[in-house]
């Protein structure tokens, strides 16, 4: 929660010095805070539902207790993904909702926002897609502990990867390295798409109903989340094959 506040403060300060992030990208202050709120919601969903479980999974591998999970007549990935819910991470998501609501109101005072009955369901749907993609990334990261023996850097890796999806994708779309990053995090690991699409639904940074490329990207977000789920499933299975238990 404190981190969220600091994040907010950072951009409050940045927007004292600039009107927009990315020339003509439309990410002005209120639009950007809608983006930030979206990120908080996705993050808190992940941390509430999966983070503790993924860490637990790494621990199961290290101690060899994964044997018990493997023996049970239920899908292992399902079993290790959902046993517990970490409610303490939920407030950040609520904070995100508040931030979005506030920024949206401010924004409506400034200009026209195209809002329809589908906006909220679509927003929620794409938040869901985002959670799916992030979940897949986390499963892949956690699975690596089977090969590495232990993975105490899980949280660090997580931090470094999520670092890339916390900004509007326009900031990457320039120069070689940027395009490479944008490509990687759009097409290989589609984390940029899933943070950008829901934010764009509400913030509409370009101030008009969606352009064709935005529709295309949204369609791609759905494909991307299915693809990443399948990929994570594959990595998980591969990893399990190399599992050799421990201390039994």
């Amino acid at each position: 929660m404190a981190w969220a506040g600091m994040n907010w403060g950072l951009f409050k300060i940045i927007y004292r010095h600039t009107g927009e992030i990315g020339l003509d990208s439309g990410w002005h202050e209120h639009e950007f805070f809608i983006f930030l709120g979206t990120i908080w919601i996705i993050n808190s969903l992940i941390q509430t539902l999966f983070m503790a479980n993924a860490a637990e999974f790494s621990e199961l591998i290290r101690t060899g207790n994964l044997d018990f999970a493997l023996l049970k007549p239920i899908d292992t990935q399902f079993l290790i993904s959902f046993p517990r819910i970490n409610w303490s991470q939920l407030p950040n998501g609520i904070l995100g909702v508040v931030l979005i609501a506030h920024s949206l109101r401010e924004l409506m005072g400034e200009r026209e926002i195209y809002f329809s009955v589908f906006s909220i369901p679509a927003f929620l749907f794409f938040i869901g897609c985002g959670a799916v993609v992030m979940y897949s990334v986390m499963i892949c990261l956690a699975s690596t502990s089977i090969w590495f023996g232990r993975n105490q850097n899980l949280y660090n890796f997580w931090f470094y990867i999520t670092n890339f999806y916390r900004y509007p994708m326009e900031i990457y779309q320039r120069s070689g390295v940027g395009m490479a990053l944008w490509g990687t995090f759009t097409f290989v690991v589609p984390i940029l798409v899933v943070s950008n699409i829901p934010a764009r639904i509400l913030a509409q940074p370009l101030g008009t109903p969606w352009k064709p490329w935005e529709w295309g990207l949204a369609a791609y977000a759905i494909i991307g989340s299915i693809w990443s789920l399948m990929a994570s499933r594959w990595v998980f299975k591969r990893a399990l094959k190399s599992y050799r238990s421990a201390s039994s």
Binding site: M6, I14, H17, G22, R174
Partner: protein
């Protein structure tokens, strides 16, 4: 005299070996540390683009506007330099370690052995840091070489460079004794996790870790002025600002003196806390 020097040397050697166990993990970890900087580069690029209102996507120096006296190159250079300052001043696990030793009674060993706790910890840290620099210098050199164009002004003059290195060394001592003091509060509180968290937040915000301190607003209340009177800025901002020539002339040496002052203050404070603490200490645990 010789004997105590030998003792410290032994502590030093043990710590070095301890640190060399996970070399590969270490290199990788150091390189990973620069990833967030990569996004920072793009974020600030996008911001400076708007400010200078010109598309200069292909010039290496980037857009030419400035924020609080920082050009785009300065800003990126600042973030890179802060990583160096932090490599000196950050002490992961120090506070928690001390508080833990107090809580589980391990601190007793310093009461019965003729070894000073702070001295022992300091030796460990120096050893860890030295090994860290030896290994990390490769990834660091690589990244700085790749980013050399961001340093618009090139190398600073020798006297500034001297102050820069002195301030780095002092920031190590400052970080060490500051965190020591927080850990020693464990004699009174037993649990210092929440204190550590507050310290971490303050540090992140007020040391210039997140952005150059010049960006801090003077309204509604003057945080910009406030940080000048706090020790935090020496942990990240000061060395970087010195290198970039943001602090000039007499200010340079005044800043250095103030930093020495803070170091002495925290050394004395940690001594006082230690002596008061062991009087209160009742030796829980086995």
């Amino acid at each position: 005299m010789l004997e105590s020097a030998l003792t410290w040397w032994t502590f030093f050697k043990i710590s070095i070996n301890e640190r060399l166990i996970y070399r590969a993990d270490f290199m990788l970890g150091t390189l990973m540390r620069f990833l967030p900087t990569l996004t920072q580069i793009f974020l600030w690029w996008a911001i400076y683009d708007v400010i200078s209102n010109a598309d200069t996507a292909d010039s290496a120096a980037g857009p030419d506007g400035n924020i609080a006296g920082y050009k785009y190159g300065d800003m990126v250079a600042y973030y890179l330099l802060v990583i160096i300052s932090r490599a000196f001043s950050s002490m992961p696990g120090l506070t928690g370690g001390i508080a833990n030793q107090i809580r589980n009674g391990e601190v007793k060993k310093f009461l019965i052995q003729p070894v000073d706790m702070q001295g022992c910890l300091l030796m460990q840290r120096i050893a860890h840091k030295l090994v860290y620099y030896l290994i990390a210098i490769l990834p660091f050199a690589l990244v700085f070489f790749l980013c050399r164009d961001f340093f618009i002004e090139g190398w600073p003059p020798p006297n500034v460079l001297a102050v820069f290195f002195a301030s780095l060394f002092l920031s190590f001592l400052l970080g060490f004794y500051l965190e020591c003091c927080i850990g020693l509060i464990g004699f009174w509180f037993l649990e210092v996790t929440s204190l550590t968290f507050i310290y971490m937040l303050m540090n992140f915000l007020l040391s210039g870790h997140m952005f150059p301190l010049e960006l801090l607003p003077a309204e509604p209340f003057n945080i910009r002025q406030l940080v000048e009177y706090l020790p935090f800025k020496y942990l990240a901002y000061f060395p970087a600002a010195v290198f970039l020539g943001k602090i000039e002339g007499a200010e340079l040496y005044r800043g250095l003196l103030a930093e020495i002052g803070w170091v002495v203050f925290f050394i004395v404070l940690s001594r006082v806390l230690w002596h008061r603490g062991i009087k209160r200490y009742s030796g829980y645990g086995g």
